[in-house]
Symmetry: D2
């Protein structure tokens, strides 16, 4: 799968190029992108023939300082109303803090997201990058159990 990062959400040359690929594309929402801009970016990819686009909400930039970004979970029902594209939640970049990842992953599934992006590391303290937001394998297993149960509740 090809990932288009938040900083490149409006790099139209890149969007059109991955639109000519056969690989599915994960399109992260830009830091200050409206839903319209995000879906329009997806259109750039699809207009070249690649319809395998997955949207990823990873938080927007606000005044709030207790997280790296503010996860906008209302984007999930809002996108559902106007698009058929699947949408997932990046609970790791969306918070930037290990202890918030599992609660927000649970919330992401509960709000109706089609999937999660979670950073995991066997030894987060030795991670080359983003160790502060990585789950250990044990934490991941616990999280997976919880989100699976929540998914069953809402199905």
């Amino acid at each position: 799968m090809i990932q288009i990062g938040a900083r490149n959400m409006q790099n139209y040359t890149l969007l059109r190029r991955v639109g000519r690929s056969k690989l599915p594309v994960l399109l992260k929402r830009g830091m200050a992108a409206t839903l319209e801009e995000w879906l329009l970016a997806a259109e750039y990819i699809m207009s070249e023939g690649n319809y395998q686009v997955v949207l990823c909400e990873r938080g927007v930039r606000t005044f709030a300082q207790h997280t790296r970004n503010t996860l906008d979970l209302a984007a999930v029902p809002a996108v559902r109303r106007i698009s058929h594209l699947p949408i997932i939640i990046d609970a790791s970049h969306g918070t930037g803090k290990n202890y918030m990842v599992t609660p927000l992953a649970r919330a992401g599934v509960a709000v109706g997201a089609d999937g999660l992006m979670i950073e995991v590391h066997s030894k987060p303290e030795e991670a080359l990058s983003d160790g502060a937001q990585a789950l250990t394998l044990d934490e991941f297993e616990q999280m997976a159990t919880e989100v699976r149960a929540i998914h069953e509740v809402i199905s």
Copy 2:
């Protein structure tokens, strides 16, 4: 219970006055309040002897236009870390749209909130105010079933 609305979160005279009441106080987060400012507002109440304070996240003001406010669910784990106060989610004002209330209510419970505030009306189309974000009685019953099940999962 006394509710202090978002617009009055930093009305210090009012905060001190309800601090001298025997009634519990629901303290809504200001539209652009940091967690520090919010908890400091709670301190104004408690410094007068009233410790029955409940925090209520009701969304913050951002550039996003698909909701009335952007619900900042990460505030729940963040507040947990630094305060003993209970915290609830207002999924009605926090979204402003009927069809988003149930998904965000589920997310609020999943992220670990201690409660929900939900507007309900037997005939939303006849509501004197905020009808656009009210649940019907049937919708509320369905929501209650779902959030109860999610609450069991995470307990």
Copy 3:
């Protein structure tokens, strides 16, 4: 003159009370207030009979970290279009940093504001509060010379 601070811009009881005063009122813009909310707050005052209201732009809360608040100078021409009320710029609270006060004061006059609010202290390092954003008397004199000249240019 009575000053209503940003935190009290929507304290409607207070607004109505100062509306019954004979004193002029300085109404600061709330940290996340739209122009409509700000002018509506002014209406609360005027509806009680006090028409001597002066608006004060003092910056809004954004993601930007290089200032305490982001001064929204476009509010000046925007308010001019829809209101007869005078509007001034608080270049001290609007920036929070001494070295930015004079440039933003000049910009405030250049954009068409009717006045400025500037904090001055004979010895800023000994100020009981807000010393970091105070001008010395010499700095103030220099600023006053510059803004007077700019005011002449645009008159």
Copy 4:
């Protein structure tokens, strides 16, 4: 001159490519970019050997609805403190409205910017794009007279 638009401020491949050009580069600030991110983007260009970089503040995205973007004029003194790069103000995109362009252009010069970007059209009502924010030739001439006089005041 090559212009890097706000949407491409963090398109690192493009930044490095223009860094190998001999042409000067206008680097617009991203819609939600901090000063650090903006200056780091300039470093990507300069690290390839092209030191002719001009920064352009064109407004950031906030909750405010009376302008297309919120011009952050405090960025000018802030950038001056930490960088030698020239910085200009885009008063057209930064406001999106014809009647705000001249006041904000004056403010931009008054705050200390090294230049302005202004959209002009002989017949704005016939412009293929951005006509709503274009000045007529007469308006531009008047604006130029005013900003020249302000520039003299602060020199």
